[in-house]
Amino acid sequence: MAQDNPSVSELLETVHEFIADVSEKLDGQDKYFALCSMFLLEIVQRELKDWQPSITDDDKRLMSLLDEKSSSTEVIEQLSEKIKQGGFDDRMDELLGVLLKHVEAKVKVTKPSYLG
């Protein structure tokens, strides 16, 4: 499923930047482990390049609201646009139900404890 920005690659880059910054203030074992951590993040970044996202249940639910076939990124933009144009004004309850499940799926990744 499409997640909000930053992308997972951007998140890794952010953490890498922070560790690089902090490592300059460290010495000894802490500095060494910071460099190792950056190395590990770089491995994850390279592995991600080969990763192919699959169509999830959330993607299918969102796609079912639209008439056209779309990728998981496109469906978010198309759905957003259709809502803005009033395309669901007579189906607000149905849309609310699908969007709640969509947002729950995002929260499950961001902070699962928030789901209570």
């Binding site: 997640q3 909000d4 920005n5 930053p6 951007e10 998140l11 952010t14 953490v15 930047e17 922070f18 969102l62 978010i76 933009e77 759905l79 957003s80 646009e81 809502i83 803005k84 009033g86 669901f88 004004d89 607000m92 849309l95 609310l96 969007l99 709640l100 969509h102 947002v103 729950e104 995002k106 929260v107 990744v109 961001t110 902070k111 928030y114 789901l115």
Partner: protein, 341 residues
């Protein structure tokens, strides 16, 4: 939205201190000196220095706030307007830091001002759970209601300088414009915009609205609120907005069963507000503003991640804001669905 570092002021801290001393001497006289300077580490878009102003035996702790970044489409009031607001609030005997002096271009300190230093704690985690603040928590809903009633009683004509801000003209349109500017697609927020527009309550009487009145933006001591800070979101509008923002789920800091700042109940807040002269609280309108609050906070989080990804304000905290937007979406959809108190 691009962040622009302010170039017209020095970043050398020793030089800043010298310039600050010159500024306060111009205000208080050449006999004063500043000592014991401490830089606050929190507060992203300002440089905040605490210092002692000394004149012989007299000593007073003051705070200097300098703007260090400006955003080319900032939703926040400029420092000079914030200072004007503080003067207005202080003159109406509201619990705010005393505004002391505003920087001029000649001061070489950029935009900003000096205010009095008020003691207290701002960290929500401590305020809502430390035993030390138990008495303050017991008083909080009442004090919050009283503060807001007093603020909302200031004649709106006194706040006329706020009337042209986008939030004063139409708060939904203001958020819509910011959200569209960042160019991110969030169907949950698009839904919320439609729902809010469709269910917008009528505003019975417009007042000055603080715009960010919540735990975290006030200094609290063991006896309660010492001063309310952070006036950069103030505007003219529905006073119910301030009550709603205070009860927005994000500002309950995990205590969802305590809508008022994670500390108390709405009934106590509302009755204190009305007893202090605030107009009759429209509970349904406040609920609407709570949902609006989640939307607005989501848009502010998108602003932060936009700054991180595109605007040159790199930070893990701003990156986290982007993913945290889902939490606000969850809050507002649950509230609309009637699943959240």
């Amino acid at each position: 939205m691009t962040a622009v570092e302010i170039d017209d002021a020095t970043n050398d801290i020793d030089e800043i201190i010298n310039l600050l001393e010159a500024c306060v001497r111009a205000h208080y006289g050449s006999s004063v000196a500043i000592n014991n300077v401490e830089q606050a580490t929190l507060g992203g878009s300002n440089r905040t220095l605490l210092f002692d102003l000394e004149d012989g035996e007299h000593k007073r702790r003051l705070v200097s706030r300098q703007e260090t970044y400006t955003l080319d489409s900032s939703p926040f009031l400029p420092p000079e307007t914030q200072f004007k607001l503080l003067q207005l609030a202080f003159s109406h005997d509201l619990a705010v830091p005393e505004p002391i002096v505003e920087f001029t271009p000649n001061d070489g300190l950029g935009r900003g001002h000096v205010i009095s230093c008020v003691s207290g704690e701002t960290l929500p985690k401590r305020l809502i759970s430390d035993e030390k603040f138990a008495a303050a928590r017991a008083l909080f809903p009442e004090q919050a209601g009283q503060f807001l009633a007093k603020l909302h009683a200031i004649p709106i004509a006194s706040g006329d300088f706020l009337s042209t801000s986008a939030d004063s003209i139409d708060p939904i349109a203001a958020q819509r414009e910011r959200y569209d500017y960042y160019g991110e697609a969030h169907p949950a927020l698009d839904f919320a915009f439609r729902w809010l527009e469709k269910n917008r309550p009528a505003c019975k009487k417009r007042t000055i609205v603080h715009g960010d009145f919540r735990v975290g933006n006030m200094l609290m001591g063991e006896s309660g609120i010492n001063a309310v800070l952070d006036w950069e979101c103030a505007h003219l509008g529905d006073p119910m907005e301030d009550l709603g923002w205070l009860c927005t789920p994000s500002w309950r800091f995990g205590n969802l069963d305590k809508p008022v700042g994670g500390i108390g109940q709405r009934a106590e807040l509302f009755s204190a507000y009305e007893a202090a002269g605030g107009r009759n609280v429209d509970c349904e309108a406040v609920r609407w503003w709570e949902i609006f609050g989640s939307l607005r906070w989501a848009v502010l989080n998108i602003m932060q991640v936009h700054g991180h990804r595109v605007g040159g304000r790199r930070s893990p905290a701003f990156a986290a804001c982007g993913r945290n937007t889902a939490l606000m979406e969850f809050d507002l959809l649950r509230a609309i669905a009637g699943q959240l108190d």
